[in-house]
């Protein structure tokens, strides 16, 4: 699973490098040379950057396919679900077929909504969002997840669903 803190760290490092590039370019702009001197270098740089970025994106894309949260992929990664829990969202509460979940077992949440769109977001005991799926009226979404850590997991609605949206909270216990 992706760690958002790691994502932020990568983002910040690239950001610092990018800012350094800008600082260098802006410092260089004190000089004046004809654009005819710059243009050929830019053409080469553009071509190289294009291929570099494209290659990077292809690699990231291919690796990221392993991280897809959809049923067939997750069943392959976590194993077929051994427990199924029905989740029904409605303004502004959650109903579960059971509230207690065993640790280390692939669980499938079968999620739907009775009224409007809701977001079924699961927060771990440390307050980190670990997985989510939309609860949609007229549709059933299936989310597989394995809880490794025991404790109380908070369920927060992550899709604006009316004025009391932020109080649409529930808890699941992992034992």
């Amino acid at each position: 699973m992706i760690n958002p803190q790691l994502v932020l760290a990568v983002f910040l490092v690239v950001g610092v490098v990018w800012t350094a590039v800008w600082a260098w370019v802006l410092l260089s702009s004190r000089q004046t040379v004809p654009y005819t001197e710059v243009a050929p270098k830019v053409t080469v740089l553009r071509r190289r950057l294009f291929w570099l970025i494209l290659a990077l994106m292809v690699v990231v894309f291919l690796v990221s396919m392993r991280l897809l949260p959809y049923r067939s992929i997750r069943a392959g990664v976590f194993g077929m679900p051994q427990l199924s829990i029905d989740v029904v969202a409605q303004q502004w509460s959650w109903t579960f077929s059971q509230n207690e979940i065993p640790r280390g077992v692939p669980v499938e949440f079968v999620v739907t909504s009775r009224d409007v769109n809701h977001g079924f977001g699961i927060y771990d005991p440390q307050g980190r969002l670990v997985t989510q799926v939309q609860a949609m009226p007229g549709y059933t979404n299936r989310l597989i997840y394995v809880f490794r850590q025991p404790g109380t997991y908070m369920i927060r609605c992550l899709e604006l669903c009316g004025v009391p949206h932020h109080v649409m909270v529930a808890a699941l216990t992992v034992k």
Binding site: I2, S29, L49, M136, G162
Partner: protein, 490 residues
């Protein structure tokens, strides 16, 4: 000021320049007001101010839709000003667009501030019709009518731009420089469109498509309200909503980027030519800009898998031309150019720098596996506020300042340049706190923040205050120069 004479005399476009000023200044004022609403929300998140939840969501809805409308209007204004230097536009048509657009904005204000509509700018169906008494059906319809007016206005704007560029160059394909593009960059006997003409044509084509998507959504929604349609499918509504909304927002960015193509050369002394890579990139945008919207639906597992994958590919793909052509092109224009530091050039530099952060944040979040733990956290507003505030909007204010100064002959002060840099500082600090919040799983669109989340907003407020002061100074400068600018824009 030789440039003044050029402005006054170019193509007799004074009427267009005047309506361009009206668009930009109206957009700027609305942007400032919406910004104050944003400050209220961050004060609320910080725990410095308590807003009742129903007011928070109303303010949030108006802030979201108003900000998009304001920056779009200002960009539309700036764009016709630069377009009119080579293409004949009709100021009466543009006034009509303005009036319809303004009526639309009025309906949105009525829906939110009077009707209590608080379903967010996305107004995800069926929430607008199922508020459990928080607002009425009339308020929801007022919101939709507001969107309809804005969409019609934008459609008319796009048709005007498309007609004008096609007429100037002898057809749409020539306005897109296809002859040059498909000959591999050989010289053609026909006049070559400027980058801004190609941008205008691309935006107009996609604008028409986006408005059509909006119409396909609004018709059944009105039908349901009238009892003619039993139920509008939630997934259908989401797809067309984001095809409409996401595309419009992106087109705003391209309009603003077009302003950089036209304005940065004034400060670097180097022309931004429609070279082959530029023409290719802009033409690719016609298709690429329509694909990323699927990333809004990654967590709707009911959507078919290929569309999720297409969303990721499209989101990655659209970033490449923006970076490799526009941003790198801007860097190249600045590199060893003897750049003239001025408020517009500072804002454009900040915009080219900050746009990348927004784009990078967007590409990260458009990776489906990452989106699993980032979707609907504050990472989302982090990235779109970045490519707006430190991207598109910075470009638009740069051009507005440039045009007003050019027309009025007003001289900027050292304090103005400091204000422009402070805009960057305030914006960067404010946005960074959004990114930190998102990485810490803080949900977006929450009226009440837990105590452990409030620290991010408390730091953000300091930077928003810096941003507000910077914008206030720029506003004073611009409004002091309006009268002479208006008089000279004949």
């Amino acid at each position: 000021m030789g440039a003044q004479a050029q402005v006054k005399g170019s193509n007799g476009n004074g009427g267009v320049l005047r309506i361009a000023l009206v668009y930009m200044l109206t957009g700027f004022v609305v942007f400032l007001l919406m910004g104050l609403l944003g400050l209220l929300m961050r004060l609320n998140h910080a725990g410095f101010l308590i807003l009742a939840p129903h007011w928070f969501y109303r303010i949030m809805t108006l802030h979201g839709s108003g900000m998009v409308a304001a920056s779009m209007l200002a960009a539309m204004g700036g764009f016709v000003a630069v377009l009119s230097r080579g293409v004949r536009l009709h100021s009466r048509w543009l006034w009509t667009v303005f009036i319809i657009y303004f009526l639309g904005a009025g309906f949105v204000i009525l829906a939110t501030m009077v009707g209590g509509f608080a379903a967010g700018w996305t107004a995800l169906h069926p929430l607008p019709y199922e508020s459990k008494g928080a607002w009425s059906l009339a308020a929801a319809l007022a919101m939709y009518i507001g969107y309809l007016f804005v969409a019609v206005a934008f459609l008319l704007y796009c048709l005007q731009v498309l007609y004008a560029t096609a007429k100037t160059y002898g057809g749409v394909t020539r306005a897109l420089a296809w002859e040059y593009l498909f000959s591999g960059g050989r010289k053609t006997p026909n006049p070559m469109p400027r980058p801004v003409d190609i941008v205008g044509t691309v935006v107009a084509i996609d604008g028409v498509i986006a408005v059509l998507a909006g119409a396909i959504l609004l018709l059944p929604l009105f039908g349901q309200a009238a009892g003619l349609v039993e139920r509008v499918d939630a997934l259908f509504a989401k797809n067309f909503l984001f095809l409409f909304g996401h595309t419009l927002v992106n087109l705003n960015i391209y309009l603003s980027a077009g302003l950089v193509y036209a304005t940065l050369p004034h400060y670097t002394g180097r022309e931004w030519k429609a070279a082959w890579p530029v023409v290719l990139a802009l033409n690719l945008v016609i298709v690429l800009v329509l694909l990323p919207y699927f990333h809004h639906l990654y967590q709707d597992f009911a959507q078919v898998l290929p569309l999720h994958i297409l969303g990721q590919i499209g989101s990655y793909g659209v970033a490449i031309p923006a970076f490799v052509v526009t941003i790198l092109g801007g860097l190249a224009l600045i590199y060893r150019s003897g750049l003239r530091w001025s408020v517009p050039s500072i804002l454009m530099v900040l915009g080219l720098w900050g746009w990348t952060f927004g784009g990078m944040g967007a590409v990260i979040d458009s990776t489906i596996g990452v989106n699993q733990v980032m979707h609907n956290t504050l990472w989302v507003p982090a990235h779109f506020h970045s490519y707006y505030l430190l991207g598109a909007v910075a470009f638009t204010w740069a051009y507005m300042y440039h045009l007003v100064a050019e027309l009025s002959g007003a001289q900027e002060t050292r304090l103005s340049r400091i204000a422009a840099w402070l805009y960057g500082l305030g914006g960067a600090g404010f946005l960074l706190m959004f990114f930190f919040s998102g990485a810490n799983s803080v949900p977006r669109r929450f009226a009440v923040h837990l105590p452990e989340w409030q620290g991010f907003a408390q730091i953000a407020v300091v930077f928003v205050v810096i941003l507000t002061l910077a914008l206030a100074w720029v506003a004073i400068e611009v409004f002091r120069s309006i009268r002479p600018a208006w008089q000279r824009a004949q």
